[in-house]
Amino acid sequence: MSTCEKPRTFVLLEELDEGIKGEGDGTISWGLCDDEDSSLTKWIGTIIGPPKTVFEGRIYQLVLHCGEKYPKVAPEVKFNTKVNLPFVSATGHIDSRRFHYLLNWTKSCTMKSLLKEIRRLMTERSYQKLKQPPENMEY
């Protein structure tokens, strides 16, 4: 019960501001699905597949659901764009038990660092053998 804990609204408004400013190189981005959603619940993220990987140049869209207890409780994350990764289910949902970042989520984690981590994992050598679905397919 820390008296200095930033309430959900202001954590998310800061993430929104940072998302609008952009990540510089544009390889990841995030923002509200609906700019009138004052509950700040449903977010859309994009990841551009890293170079020299099987994901290279593809644009992956994800939906992030930040519930009432965010950031204490991790968002639910789902790929809209089809991808073959061991921690992504057949419906596109990220399985938090198989994705360390969500499993070890703490309230100082952000959507930005989550997207960055997914993109970093795309460069893992062992994933380069995974056969990827045709580009631009959706779940």
């Binding site: 008296t3 200095c4 408004l13 959603d37």
Partner: protein, 153 residues
């Protein structure tokens, strides 16, 4: 109240013992830097009769940094956007540690009395306000009835 700066304790006490007319600010029971606020729509404004809910947070750097505030009640106002963010200079570059929660809330109340469409945040609202003020005021009144009166959200 361990760790809560004396300044915040003082400000809170005064807010509770000498409330500003038409404004209430209650600290959250689990977080004394977090306030649940209501502002009554000022008389002779299109917000009259409405009770607007806001939330306010004093960041760790307060009073060196401004409080963070947003509207939780939907409002049709050129300086307040669709997710409740407020365009007010003292919440941004004009913040000074000499200001207080009380002054911030008074300034927001004043902003409701005097919308400033030349310094907009909600652009389409500001455009309407400048193009047809009477119609904009009518919409603001309707939104007040719909969202800020009993039964509204």
């Amino acid at each position: 109240m361990a760790g809560l700066p004396r300044r915040i304790t003082k400000e809170t006490q005064r807010l509770l013992s000498e409330p500003v007319q038409g404004i209430s600010a209650t600290p959250d029971e689990n977080n004394l830097r977090y306030f649940h606020v209501t502002i009554n729509g000022p008389k002779d404004s299109p917000f009259e009769g409405g009770v607007f809910k806001l939330e306010l947070f004093l960041p760790e750097e307060y009073p060196m940094a401004a409080p963070k505030v947003r509207f939780n009640t939907k409002i049709y106002h050129p300086n307040i956007d669709k997710i409740g963010r407020i365009c007010l200079d003292i919440l941004k570059d004009k913040w000074s540690p000499a200001l207080q929660v009380r002054t911030v809330l008074l300034s927001i109340q004043a902003l409701l009395s005097a919308p400033n469409p030349d310094d907009p945040l909600a652009n389409d609202v500001a455009d309407n306000w400048k193009r047809n003020e009477a119609a904009a005021i009518k919409t603001a009144r309707e939104w007040t009835q719909k969202y800020a009166m009993s039964g509204g959200q």
